[in-house]
């Protein structure tokens, strides 16, 4: 004052480590065990192949609508690899490969996409929440979980995912603000894939980056090349370290791209150009990581092929397995289970109604 420029305390940074050709910046290269690197590679390939298979199944009417993740494998896998198993993950709905990394079976995914609530019980309990369809609503849960963990003096952090579109929801704002005020150990990981269905990033918000939104909350923010799994891993690991040290939340923006449709109900050609798609295909996270690993002598052509085959076999087995399991699923009466811890009388009565209808069997005559 009287007329001055305000200097913003928190740093907003940008990070990239391996470029689109697979060339690494040695100074920034994180030290990661070879196993972890290979596991990540395998998980990325699995994510991509599974997506392709799900698309085929959807087109054959063997699953319902689903949101593909192709192109974003580095963004969610790089992040989730930086937390521990008993840390928490609070997903949106476009992190399938990360869910699988955390122990969700492919079977569970397939069963869920067939509209079976049973999907939720296919995997052992864990510290991953179910996907959240209402955009942006899950981040607040991450704050509550993070706060609770600290209150319980348990050394856990929470990684929550959301898209570029989600940053427009009021819930994003409230979650970021609460997390900062309460210094909750939360990593807010935005998969900025440039689109929210048909709305481009540029129409979603006028801010130049998503990362700078952290300034509104007095929180550090970083914009990362989201197709560079090492950069995502490094940025997340740093944020995790801060969170564990009691230094509160971080916003990590991963700049990435959704290579396929929003969901299988969507036709992206209505709103985006082939050229744009081609530009981003050139930045595909998988070949780039492959090149890096080859240069590092961790991968060979042969090993790549072997991984590819193993992954396909795993997917095939899961499809078979899921389709077999589903044969015994879907008891209509199960819709009354888990409404409450104890079934209240009116629900017991409604369940009996349905049971009687089912017992009477078949149709009474009219068209369904």
């Amino acid at each position: 004052m009287p007329r001055t420029t305000i200097t913003i305390a928190d740093k907003i940074e940008a990070l990239s480590i391996v470029d689109a050709k697979g060339v690494v910046d040695k100074q920034l290269e994180p030290s990661m065990p070879d196993d972890l690197l290979l596991d990540l590679y395998r998980a990325m390939v699995l994510g991509r192949r599974f997506d392709e298979r799900l698309l085929a199944l959807q087109r054959q009417g063997r699953i319902g609508t689903f949101p593909p993740t192709s192109g974003q494998e580095a963004a969610h896998l790089g992040a989730v690899a930086a937390i521990k198993e008993d840390d928490w993950m609070v997903p949106a709905f476009r992190e399938t490969a990360a869910e699988i990394w955390r122990g969700r079976s492919l079977e569970s995914v397939i069963i869920g996409l067939n509209g079976y609530n049973e999907a939720a019980t296919v995997d052992p309990p864990g510290t991953t929440l179910p996907v959240s369809v209402p955009v942006g609503s899950q981040m607040l849960h991450a704050v509550g979980i993070g706060w609770a963990a600290r209150y319980c003096k348990e050394d856990k952090v929470v990684l929550t995912f959301f898209g570029d579109g989600a940053t427009s929801e009021g819930d994003f704002h409230e979650a970021m603000n609460f997390a900062a005020v309460f210094q909750a150990p939360v990593i807010f990981l935005c998969q900025n894939n440039q689109w929210a269905i048909s709305i481009p990033r540029s129409k979603q918000t006028r801010s130049q980056t998503i990362a700078q939104k952290a300034v509104a909350y007095g929180m550090p923010g970083i914009q990362v090349d989201g197709n560079d799994v090492l950069a995502v891993y490094s940025a997340t690991a740093e944020a995790v370290e801060r969170a564990r040290a009691g230094q509160g939340p971080t916003l990590v923006e991963c700049v990435t791209y959704r290579l396929m449709m929003h969901t299988t109900a969507d036709d992206p050609r209505r709103y985006r150009s082939d050229e744009e798609l081609e530009t981003w295909k050139a930045k595909d996270p998988i070949p780039r990581f492959e090149a890096y690993l080859q240069a590092k002598k961790l991968l060979t052509k042969k090993k790549i092929a072997a991984i590819g085959e193993a992954v396909q076999a795993q997917i095939q087995a899961a499809v078979d397995n899921a389709e077999a399991q589903m044969k015994t699923m879907g008891d209509p009466l199960d819709m009354f289970a888990h409404a409450y811890a104890e079934t209240p009388p009116h629900l017991a009565a409604q369940k009996e109604e349905l049971a009687a209808e089912l017992a009477a069997g078949g149709k009474e005559g009219a068209d369904g």
């Binding site: 609508t65 942006g136 009021g170 709103y271 409404a339 409604q350 005559g365 009219a366």
Partner: protein, 327 residues
């Protein structure tokens, strides 16, 4: 007259009202370039430009709140919630402001907006995409809650909703969006909001329903006729609130036997109000308890079970037979 799906009929309503009145503005997620995820607004941005068809950021309270401001200024915003299950994000804007501003300003201001949202099950959609919670809005003073049941009335009601001086929540039965076609006249057609209609006459029992349930109810009524020789009178509410209780209470006085059918959960659902009105206005004519064939009081299950959750013709037929036996 052209045969149209409900999606096309709604599109026609929007197109004609926009052409006629440049105060009509569309806004919502993906309503512009993409033409809406169900294509209800298809082609409108090409026709009327980005000035009148706004692709908004992803924020429902934002969409509703901005619409309120536009309406206060004198425009006629028609906003879309992508699915009715995401209108709760905007609930406070709707309850705190849209529903109240006329009253708060003692008539100085008004909120002539329409909030469109696809509702209901039957299309094997994802979680949160199949709810029917019209009761929330019907219970909110100051709102009108409209729910068409077919292409032609959807078009006529949407036109009326756009011209209505008060905020209208307009729930579109997505199960019917493309289910069948109906003759829809190119010339202007409106239907009064707050008026129900008899869609099938009958002297033996009365079935009150609306929205996507009208079809299975009619199918059951036909079956009841052909198999049992009984005649059900079917009343399509079209507007859930303000509730027009004249036709169904009159019909009940004739038949003495009534059933209510809706997708929404049963308890504290719209059917309860219909029963209350029947008790208030036709009590002494009722021969049997009023039957409720409705969604169950559980979260709408994922799609593998939705056919068991949703009332279907067979369930309606069974309930009708029981009604005719009882009393």
């Amino acid at each position: 007259m052209a045969k149209m799906t409900m999606v096309q009929a709604l599109n026609l309503a929007l197109r004609q009202e926009m052409a006629k009145d440049d105060r009509v503005i569309l806004l919502g997620e993906d309503v512009g370039v993409d033409g809406g995820v169900f294509r209800v607004t298809d082609g409108l941005i090409e026709m009327f430009g980005e000035e009148r068809v706004l692709d908004t950021p992803l924020a429902e309270a934002g969409i509703a709140g901005m619409s309120i401001g536009m309406a206060v200024y004198g425009l006629r915003p028609v906003c879309e919630m992508q699915f009715s299950g995401f209108s709760y994000q905007a609930f406070h804007q709707i309850e705190n402001h849209a529903a109240r501003l006329r009253w708060r300003s003692q008539g100085r201001l008004s909120v002539p907006m329409v909030l469109r949202a696809p509702y209901g099950g039957g299309v094997r959609a994802l979680e949160h995409h199949s709810e029917s919670r019209e009761a929330y809005y019907a219970h909110t003073p100051g709102l009108k809650m409209v729910m068409p049941s077919g292409p032609r009335n959807a078009r006529a009601l949407l036109v009326s909703a756009i011209r209505d001086p008060d905020p209208v929540i307009f729930f579109e039965p997505k199960a019917i969006y493309r289910a069948y076609r109906e003759e829809v006249p190119e010339e202007e057609e409106t239907l009064p909001i707050g008026r129900s209609r008899i869609v099938r006459e009958g002297r033996d029992l009365t079935i009150v329903t609306y929205g996507a349930m009208v079809r299975p109810v009619l199918a059951a009524a036909e079956d009841l006729h052909s198999k049992d020789g009984a005649e059900a009178e079917v009343i399509d509410l079209l507007t859930v609130s303000p509730l027009d209780d004249t036709l169904f209470t009159a019909s009940a006085r004739q038949t003495g036997r009534v059933m209510v059918v809706h997708e929404a959960p049963r308890s504290f659902g719209p059917g309860a109000e219909i029963i209350a009105r029947l008790v208030e206005k036709s009590f002494y004519y009722l021969e049997t308890p009023i039957a409720r064939v409705t969604g169950y009081d559980v979260v709408m299950p994922l799609f593998s079970r939705e056919k068991h959750y949703l009332p279907h013709a067979d369930r309606v037929l069974k309930a009708a037979r029981k009604l005719l036996r009882d009393g």
